[in-house]
Symmetry: C4
Subunit: 264 residues, 4 copies
């Protein structure tokens, strides 16, 4: 019986047709749930629409709660441990277990403790984490994740360089533009906001330099922004090219053509 | 006779000089037609200009209609089937057949059924699909298409990651900015519009955060946007590099053309 | 004597120290000239500053005229032909010869024919072409040019795809936004301007959709814009990677290890 | 004793646990210092907060001064020279020595010479250079630096091409838009600011063309901007791919570890 439930809800790569159907059902329910949460934020909704959304929330929370309880039930298969309770806790404190809990918690919380309504609205957004459940169902995501993991040092370094650029340009721009535009550049933090908009080439247009020197600094930062795009792209490109090379190298190439032994 | 028409209008790769000339004539007519449709939308046109555009439309629709009828006529060569009617229908329901029909249909429709004028204006834009006929004449487009097809899973996944980023950032930004700017961030969908403008680094400037927390979230999204550009670029780059490797290493190139032995 | 002048002003790769100095002098003069032309457009200049700029113009035009005449003088070395006049004309109608002429012509033209002053201001910008002379002095530019030339078909195709995207999105956006914003989207050409700003992710913010459907279309176009950046980058990346491969392949790899003959 | 201090503060790659702790302490102090400098620019600070920031400044300057003096003390180990004073000066005029001095100088300067307060505010930003000290502690930065150094010619050339594009488009746009928008495009330098915003796809939206011709020019520049992003990205990508090839193909890997023969 427990084995059957496991086969249905958490089979992984060797899943049956029913397991696949269950996975698709959960994914579709998660997506619909996210849309429902987004719809709730629209102010001009009729009471009927609100009731419909509330009904859908109750149904989906019920489904997610049953799923969560079943996952605790089969946790001795998915998270083997010395005894039943340890494996249950092991699942509950695993990243996916916590996401599953956070997805249903905001529904039950108001029944247990008295919470401010405004705070409730914000905590409701945690329900959104249901979306991350999709990650469990998608194995091809691993590929991109592998390249990102391999290149995480280089990408992190690029981000650090970007942060240094941001800080330097924010300080320079503050000292240049503050005397002329004290309302737009009141402090270094406002200047940082300009630096981010320029370096990432977003350019909202709410804040920009008006002095000649400020425009020169801004131009330099915008060009460095091009470099900021080029650097991680180059790193990730080389990561993917490397992956091609690995998959292209046939197993036999690891054997010496002279002595036939494997070359480590 | 039918063979001659086929040679003229649909010879493909082994086309004669006349076939090439016909192809160029159709392409130029399509481009001129698109420009004419665009010109029609200008409000301050003189009646003379309107008449000229109408005349050009009649001429081009006539040419496209004749071309369409000829293609049906030669469909037993291009779309071989058991009998004449089946091959004709096969062409008519092929993607290019439907595009050809859609390109001329808006002209004839008002004669058959009574249609609302405003609806007419919108349906006229379907004429634009004539442009896609160019695709038929361009064989080098296949190259880029191949890389895109090979990498469609990775590109699709990147798009999915981008959609997740969009949703998460839209929800977060809504909860942060809604209390301060209820007119700019009235609901999650307005927040999504901001998220798209920031993540793709377009940054129109019609909607942007004003709170410190909102600016921090926006900065994170803008930096993730850099990653969003880097990821598909890296994937497509590796796809093109892979193509070079394939075309450079044909199986036969491992054999010496002089002695015929394999070169390791 | 003529050989000496040739050695000084047009020695190319095997230039002496004096030739290098002459080249640097001309490049610096060109840059200063461009700056001077830009300075002339500032409205609040004092008469002294104007006179100084005029003096600098006379000096630099004199230098460029002497250089032009010397190049005609040595044209029988640089552009060998049957007789003296043919080689002179050969230089004068070569791309660099025409640029050299255009750089000095706007100065002499007002003395010969009576020209409208406003037209003069525009023709003066042609002087800017002096900058392109730098191209003659820079040989490393060839490297990037080679990759661009090899990939020109793929880059051209990407541009064609971008143009198709632009047109389709402009037509769609016009039909969606025109009824709501007739002042911002009066015709398809105004819509094209929006499409360019969105697809290239510039996003000035002077024109953007306000309807829900328009925002969805805009979001799709913005994401296609990411693809538009990724595609040529991938193509150019593979071009540079290919170049590395070529330069890495040692000459000996073209020799068959069995028979020793060259493999074409 | 001197050896012990050297081991603690400047051991480099073979550093002990204490050396690592000292490095982390300095890095954290630098980051906190930068944040403190940024906080000082906020106008609405309470006197208590100002005093706290002043106290923190005194403490951190004391630490940085002691570090600087210790580095001079051990300079005969880090910068070996004929005599004690030469090695001390060698350190003081090394790039890191100058940065260390600039980081503490703005604190001591007002005690020595009388300086204008406004000038002081700007010179204080030099303290920010403390951040660059992080560079000393980070060895992985070398990797990215190597690719950038190898490709510096190609990147420089791309930047030169970009500058040419900027100038040409600025001149063209000035002559096109100046007669219609004399307030937005008063001279070529204002036009240059527009050119930078468009070519780097930042697009603040403070300055944009309104004429049909100006919009066409702007569209061309925006598309060239895509190329401007593609070119350096391609160059850097190929640089990283090259690095992979180098590290993968060590000379010794061509010899079988079992039989010692070369593997072709």
């Amino acid at each position: 019986m427990k084995r059957k439930i496991y086969n249905l809800i958490d089979k992984g790569a060797h899943g049956s047709k029913y397991n696949l159907l269950f996975d698709y059902f959960i994914v579709v329910l998660i997506i619909l749930n996210v849309i429902a949460v987004a719809l709730e934020t629209i102010s001009g909704l009729t009471p009927q629409a609100r009731n419909l959304l509330r009904l859908f929330e109750i149904i989906s929370v019920t489904v997610f709660t049953i799923e969560y309880l079943l996952r605790i039930y089969i946790s001795d298969i998915t998270h083997p441990a010395k005894n039943r309770i340890t494996s249950g806790l092991k699942f509950m404190f695993s990243p996916y277990g916590l996401i599953d809990l956070l997805a249903i918690l905001p529904f039950y919380l108001p029944f247990v403790i008295k919470v401010d309504l405004r705070f409730l609205r914000i905590i409701r957004l945690v329900r959104f984490f249901r979306v991350f459940k999709i990650g469990r169902y998608n194995t091809t995501l691993k590929l991109i994740g592998d390249v990102m993991k391999e290149k995480r040092n280089a990408i992190g370094l690029t981000f650090l360089i970007a942060c240094l650029m941001l800080l330097v340009s924010a300080f320079v721009m503050y000292s240049v533009e503050n005397p002329v535009q004290p309302d737009k550049f009141p402090n270094v933090f406002a200047s940082l906001w300009w630096a981010v908009a320029t370096l990432t080439t977003v350019g909202y247009g709410d804040i920009y330099p008006i002095t000649a020197l400020g425009k020169i600094v801004s131009s330099i930062v915008a060009f460095l922004g091009i470099g900021l795009i080029a650097l991680p792209t180059g790193i990730i490109s080389s990561g993917f090219v490397e992956k091609i090379g690995h998959s292209k190298d046939p197993v036999s190439s690891n054997l010496c053509p002279h002595c036939g032994k494997e070359i480590k």
